[in-house]
């Protein structure tokens, strides 16, 4: 059995989740705290991937990042970034596609913290950063865990977006979901079954480990 598609799937899910953590936390914090009139617009944009067919998202990414088009050729010429049919392109598309799965739990967690906690920290002279680091993040650990697990699992199961922007390049963009589809198309049910079983077993073990540790994580939050 070729392990490369499975390895690629987990690598994509891991990198995407890490990028989402870095981007999703400030965005969720802003959405939870802001009274800006832009909030409903940003919330709608973040939630779009929940309702949009993945192929639509993939199609527009393909158009935008194609070196034949202005933006894609600019990225290629100035930053040396080629996002179509490449692993960085998969990461970018996955980050957008899984954004609501990270942002929404974090936003809900932050919004549910009693305002008196933040007021209290503020009156103690703590900065926004100190309050976020010492009070807010430690007290939304269950939400943080939910965001990480959902983003990881959602990226692992991607098919439409990945196929549209990444194609099916072995070792580069051929993730497990696409490999399973290919094997079924070629009537190699045995290979498809092997990939599926490994994916099923590994993801179950990961989810079990994560949810099993939830009690510990929630203990001080």
């Amino acid at each position: 059995m070729n392990w490369s598609p499975l390895f690629l799937s987990f690598k994509l899910a891991l990198v995407t989740t890490l990028v989402l953590l870095v981007l999703g936390l400030p965005l969720a914090w802003w959405l939870a705290r802001t009274r800006s009139r832009l909030k409903p617009i940003i919330e709608s944009l973040v939630s779009l991937p929940l309702v949009l067919p993945p192929t639509v998202l993939g199609f527009y990414f393909l158009l935008a990042f194609s070196p034949n088009n202005t933006f894609g050729s600019w990225l290629d010429a100035w930053l040396g970034l080629r996002l179509v049919f490449s692993f960085p392109g998969l990461v970018f598309a996955s980050v957008i596609y899984s954004l609501p799965f990270m942002v929404q739990p974090l936003q809900a967690g932050l919004a549910s913290l009693p305002s008196s906690l933040l007021d209290s920290a503020r009156l103690m002279g703590k900065s926004t950063w100190q309050t976020l680091r010492r009070v807010e993040i430690p007290n939304i650990r269950p939400a943080l865990l939910t965001g990480i697990v959902l983003s990881f699992a959602h990226t692992l199961g991607e098919f439409g977006v990945v196929l549209m922007i990444g194609g099916n390049i072995p070792g580069e963009t051929r993730v497990a979901a696409i490999a399973i589809y290919d094997e079924v198309e070629a009537l190699n049910y045995g290979a498809a079954n092997a990939y599926s079983l490994v994916l099923l077993g590994l993801t179950f073990i990961i989810l079990l480990a994560v949810y099993g540790s939830r009690r510990w994580l929630g203990g001080r939050g």
């Binding site: 009693p114 920290a121 001080r220």
Partner: protein, 264 residues
């Protein structure tokens, strides 16, 4: 000295009402805001701390206009009604987090509040009364210039309520902390406050010493008072050095008449 003049439109159970309060509090003294739930007491504290935007405000502390001082720089110790203890921190960590350069002796405070044995407990492992003690100790430990206390002893049993009330009063005097206490517990106000403002539906009904302000009705026995004037269903009376409004049910009184008022 802390001087404040605050106005804000608030919505309560009976609809929208206007909160209008003028107060001044001295270092080392406790000023109590006394009145029924929904009178606007907590809103006054929150406006003074800079946590609730007022419609109009004049707020000076030691001659400095607090309107332009951010809440984080006012050096206020605040006890919230829900205690606002950080759930992820132990009792000790909560106090450490609140400490400032001028902090009071933490171990002495912990001992006074009977919390020494609980320093490694998380708030979720404490009873309501214990949490309230931590909240009060945490507000004091930062060595505040101003203490704003929202029902700070309400969850305590009688013995601790008296003991910590006395400790609080002593600490406020010793460190010259300007303190505003919100309470609807008459006994607590009489025991702790140097001055009282009785607030009803956002309006100041009376200001003065606890004994004077908390007299609410005309009666056969009670403290002597002089009627200054009659305003609708209220009479304005002088009790000692304080002037207050008293709702009357039976006895309207005449200007100059000497009456007696019941405490309640």
């Amino acid at each position: 000295m802390l001087k404040a003049k605050l106005q804000k439109s608030l919505s309560g159970p009976t609809g929208i009402f206007s909160l209008s309060v003028e107060l001044s509090a001295h270092p080392g003294e406790i000023l109590a805001l006394y009145g029924p739930s929904g009178a606007g007491k907590t809103s006054v504290l929150r406006m003074m701390a800079g946590l609730l935007p007022p419609d109009e405000i004049d707020l000076y502390f030691r001659g400095q206009n607090w309107r332009y001082i951010p809440p984080s720089q006012r050096n206020i110790g605040f006890v919230f009604q829900d205690y606002a203890l950080f759930p992820n921190m132990t009792v000790r960590e909560n106090l450490d987090f609140a400490s400032r350069p001028r902090a009071l002796d933490q171990d002495q405070l912990l001992a006074a509040f009977e919390l020494t044995a609980l320093v490694n407990h998380l708030p979720a492992q404490l009873s309501g009364g214990q949490q309230q003690r931590v909240a009060l100790a945490r507000a004091l430990v930062q060595g505040p210039d101003v203490l704003l206390l929202d029902e700070p002893l309400s969850a305590l049993e009688h013995r601790l309520r008296v003991k910590l009330g006395n400790y609080l009063k002593q600490a406020v005097r010793e460190y010259g902390i300007t303190t505003i206490l919100v309470s609807h517990d008459l006994g607590e106000v009489v025991r702790l406050a140097d001055q009282v403002i009785r607030l009803e539906a956002g309006q100041v009904m009376a200001t003065g010493t606890p004994e004077a302000v908390l007299l609410t009705d005309v009666t056969e026995t009670g403290l002597p008072a002089e009627v200054l004037r009659v305003e609708g269903e209220q009479i304005v009376v002088r009790v000692g050095q304080s002037v207050l409004r008293v709702p009357t049910k039976e006895h309207a009184g005449q200007p100059g008449e000497r009456i007696r008022l019941r405490l309640g």
